[in-house]
């Protein structure tokens, strides 16, 4: 067991190192100079004296270490990381760690709420759709799944925002991350992600219904509810995977919805920083997201090994074989 986890952690660190290195280089290859964006944006009058401007650009590039080679910059960043320092934002001058810490709770709150909605809708409609296979409810559910899966998230968000904020006056548009403002972005994200859940659970349930143990249970006269429960338990494994993957997608991919609902989360912060080419923030955000994906995947594997011991045993055998 210890061997498996040691190997997993080693793999995770390697992935983290490689992914952040690639991102570090890619960010710098993208067009745009963060310093030029910072000092040039507020001007609405063209000037004829550009000498001081050029001088200021050089000064600031030097101040932020952008005049050094990519490798030197990477080395400095790595040194900072060892001290748990993500550097300071070029745009605001504030610590990236502080800015992320300020915003991450809002994103996690939104993601967890959205995940909850996705799971509830997915299980409820997925199971019911499988039970009513081929009937009107099944067709309707499948139609709605296609509709929501094919409609862009921002369209659903704006329609819901317009309906609840303008038509029914039951939603307040501001920039606060409070519970009274959570339900609508969470519902939007939930509706966007639910079709995938519904279809997977429906398909898994239908597969289970075709298994011999179900026929056997039916022939033994087991109650209908008990049969459904047995079938459902066997669909749990993919649900664990989907939960982890959905949470990752929600935390890292809620950018558009956070922007539309003006939810002060990390996605909106990252989006703004990408537009401003704020390297330290983009790097910090990317590092966090990659770490999050790795941790969630690790957790999934651990949960897997508990739910299905066969996976755990097979893993151990493989490790022994390697050594």
């Amino acid at each position: 067991m210890l061997l498996i986890f040691s190997r997993k952690i080693l793999e995770a660190l390697l992935t983290l190192g490689l992914a952040t290195s690639i991102l570090f280089i890619l960010i710098r290859l993208a067009p745009g100079d963060p310093v030029a964006i910072m000092i040039g944006q507020s001007s609405d009058v063209a000037s004829s004296n550009t000498e001081r401007y050029e001088q200021k650009l050089l000064e600031l590039r030097s101040e932020f270490g952008l005049n050094q080679t990519i490798f030197q910059q990477y080395f400095i960043w790595m040194k900072q990381l060892i001290l748990f320092d993500l550097g300071d934002s070029i745009h605001t001058g504030r610590s990236v760690m502080t800015e992320i810490a300020d915003r991450l709770p809002a994103t996690i709150l939104l993601s967890v709420a959205a995940l909850f909605i996705q799971i509830v809708l997915g299980i409820l409609l997925g199971v019911l759709s499988a039970l009513k296979f081929g009937r009107f409810f099944d067709h309707l559910t499948r139609f709605l799944c296609v509709l929501f899966a094919s409609t862009p998230g921002f369209v659903i968000g704006l329609v819901l925002l317009s309906t609840f904020a303008v038509t029914f006056s039951t939603y307040e548009i501001n920039t606060e991350a409070k519970l009274s403002r959570l339900w609508l972005p969470a519902l939007t994200l939930g509706m966007i992600g639910a079709p995938q859940w519904i279809r997977t659970i429906r398909a898994n349930m239908l597969t289970e219904f075709g298994q011999p143990y179900i026929s056997s249970a039916v022939s033994r006269g087991l109650k209908y509810r008990r049969i459904v429960e047995h079938a459902f338990k066997n669909t749990l494994l993919p649900i664990v995977t989907m939960t982890g993957l959905s949470l990752t997608t929600l935390i890292s991919g809620a950018v558009v919805i956070e922007s539309i609902f003006s939810w002060p989360g990390i996605g909106k912060y990252a989006l703004d920083s990408i537009l401003l080419k704020d390297y330290p923030v983009i790097q910090g955000y990317a590092l966090l997201m990659i770490a999050l994906v790795i941790v969630i995947h690790l957790v999934i594997e651990i949960v897997y090994s508990f739910i299905d011991p066969r996976i755990h045993r097979k893993g151990e055998e493989n490790v022994k074989k390697d050594y």
């Binding site: 000092i39 605001t92 704006l158 303008v166 307040e172």
Partner: protein, 528 residues
């Protein structure tokens, strides 16, 4: 299945609680929601509204007015003031200064208000004003065009003298820009407790990239506003800003999209106000590209644009066509149609023929085996504009490719020289010499295309020397027309600026520089 039922019930409870909590907001917002069915009682409640909520694309990036993206926002929400201000007609008026007098061609004397003080209560005297302007000059790059050629000396406690490097520099105009806001240079701008400005409202809380709250400055020298509190919120999505005013969540939304006009037309809650801004949507041509070497080609491109249609399709009709660059300045309205007075595709085609770009059977123009092509780069909200231009130029035989993307792509293309044309809108309000030099002199930062015309350069030099206002104006118009005739750039229309305002707010003033003139003491809630 019972468990699913329980989970569903919990979910429904969460949604219902969410809705109900959302509905039971503080009194201020309740007032706003109830406004949907306006009655006399509700009008009474609205008049008691305590805060003005402004939804903006961005809020101040910091608390220090010399930092980028800060002073314009602080000024816009009534926190900061400059010595002078520009009214909606484009006239310069005293603000924190009491008066200004031109002593001679290079000297001005500015009298300060003895009753004015900073938020802290410290006097805004000559020493404080000079220290503030010197701090802006040394730390704020954006203040350079306005302060660099000025030097300040104290005459007495409330009088300063300004010496200019050149004759007839417009000192009050220069000191009206947001980059010159007066702040207490002795204070730190690290936090809200130490910052010290002079506006009618002072900052009480600041969450970067989210929200800034302000309350009345009790030491304010001028008229006391009737609204006690201002909330400036950063709502980046333009459509959401529009919805925030339509829903009553905010009272003013700055820069709402032209695509939301229909929603406002059907609403009793809010209206849109569009003041023509002093900037010109301009196509900058890269004169290093061989197809633009010939002046006739550039002129043909300008004649071949139906600007009325561009305004209709590119700006939803929320602007007016201009054919010269300076024409969007409210004081130069006569330059609107000075050159290219009408859409004339026939003339455009004739000019292209004269330039040797012949049309083939398919309607495409080419010369020496080269097809006449333009790669037009657009960004922001200009995609529809770019596509309309593409359609119009295609009709005169020019093949156009529109590349819409991030502004950084345009900057990178300019740095590499691999670009044909791009669209941008610079401000046209200010000192004529500074504006025209910035755009059309060889070292102007807005001269992207590398325009370098000997006669224009000479005229720009002459403009710097002329002191008589009328002669100066005439020469500025002459330069403006000459540039339009040579067409290194093609002027289209002022970029629309649309502000959504709640119908219960009184006293909102449309301004051609709306982004820094939203809050003033005359704003109030309720029936007039």
């Amino acid at each position: 299945m019972k468990r699913f039922g329980i989970i569903l019930a919990i979910f429904m409870v969460v949604v219902i609680v969410g809705c109900s909590v959302s509905s039971s907001k503080d009194n201020t917002n309740d007032d706003k929601k109830e406004n949907t069915n306006a009655t006399d009682d509700q009008q009474e409640e609205k008049s008691e509204q305590q805060e003005l909520i402004i939804a903006d694309q961005e809020i101040a990036a910091s608390l220090d007015p010399v930092e980028p993206l800060t002073s314009s926002y602080l000024r816009n929400i009534g926190a900061a003031e400059a010595l002078f201000k520009v009214n909606a007609k484009g006239e310069v008026e005293p603000s924190l200064a009491e008066s200004a007098e031109e002593i001679n061609d290079t000297t001005w004397e500015i009298n300060l208000r003895t009753e004015a003080s900073f938020w802290s209560g410290e006097a805004i005297d000559a020493d404080a004003v000079i220290a503030s302007l010197e701090r802006s000059k040394s730390l704020d790059l954006q203040a350079e065009p306005f302060l660099n050629e000025l030097s300040f000396t104290k005459v007495d406690d409330y009088t300063i003298q300004v010496e200019t490097e050149h004759a007839k520099q417009p000192v009050p105009l220069n000191l009206s820009y947001y980059q010159t806001v007066i702040h207490n240079a002795d204070k730190s701008y690290e936090d809200i407790d130490s910052m010290d400005l002079s506006g009618m409202y002072k900052v009480t809380s600041f969450s970067p990239a989210q929200k800034m709250e302000l309350e009345l400055n009790e030491n304010y020298w001028g008229e006391t506003p009737s609204i006690p509190k201002i909330v400036h919120e950063q709502i980046s999505d333009a459509q959401t800003r529009a919805l925030s005013v339509l829903s009553g969540s905010s009272d003013i939304a700055i820069k709402v999209p032209v695509t939301s006009l229909t929603q406002f037309a059907e609403s009793d809650e809010a209206e849109t106000i569009s003041a023509p801004p002093a900037n010109t949507q301009t196509i900058y041509l890269n004169l290093d590209q061989p197809q633009f070497e010939n002046e006739k080609v550039r002129q043909a491109l300008s004649w071949g644009l139906n600007r009325e249609e561009l305004v209709e399709l590119g700006a939803e009709g929320q602007s007016t066509p201009v054919t010269t660059w300076l024409a969007s300045n409210p004081t130069y309205e006569e330059a609107k149609n000075a050159v290219y007075p009408e859409y004339d595709p026939d003339k455009a085609e004739a000019l292209l023929d004269e330039a040797g770009w012949g049309k083939d059977a398919e309607g495409t123009r080419s010369k020496d085996g080269e097809t006449l092509t333009v790669k037009l780069m657009t960004w922001g909200d200009d995609q529809a504009l770019g596509e309309t231009i593409q359609n119009q130029w295609t009709q005169i035989g020019v093949q156009v490719e529109v590349q819409h993307g991030d502004y950084n792509l345009i900057q990178t293309a300019r740095e590499s020289g691999e670009w044909d044309a791009s669209i941008e809108a610079w401000s046209t309000f200010g000192d004529e010499h500074a504006l025209l030099t910035g755009q059309f002199s060889p070292d102007g930062s807005g001269n992207y295309g590398g325009y370098n015309d000997e006669q224009t350069n000479q005229l720009l030099d002459d403009l710097a020397e002329i002191t008589d206002p009328q002669a100066r104006r005439e020469l500025a118009l002459q330069i403006n027309e000459r540039v339009a005739e040579q067409a290194p750039v093609i002027s289209l229309y002022p970029r629309p600026q649309l502000t959504a305002v709640s119908t219960k707010l009184n006293g909102f003033e449309a301004h051609f520089r709306q982004f820094e003139h939203t809050v003033h003491a005359g704003l109030s809630f309720g029936t007039e």
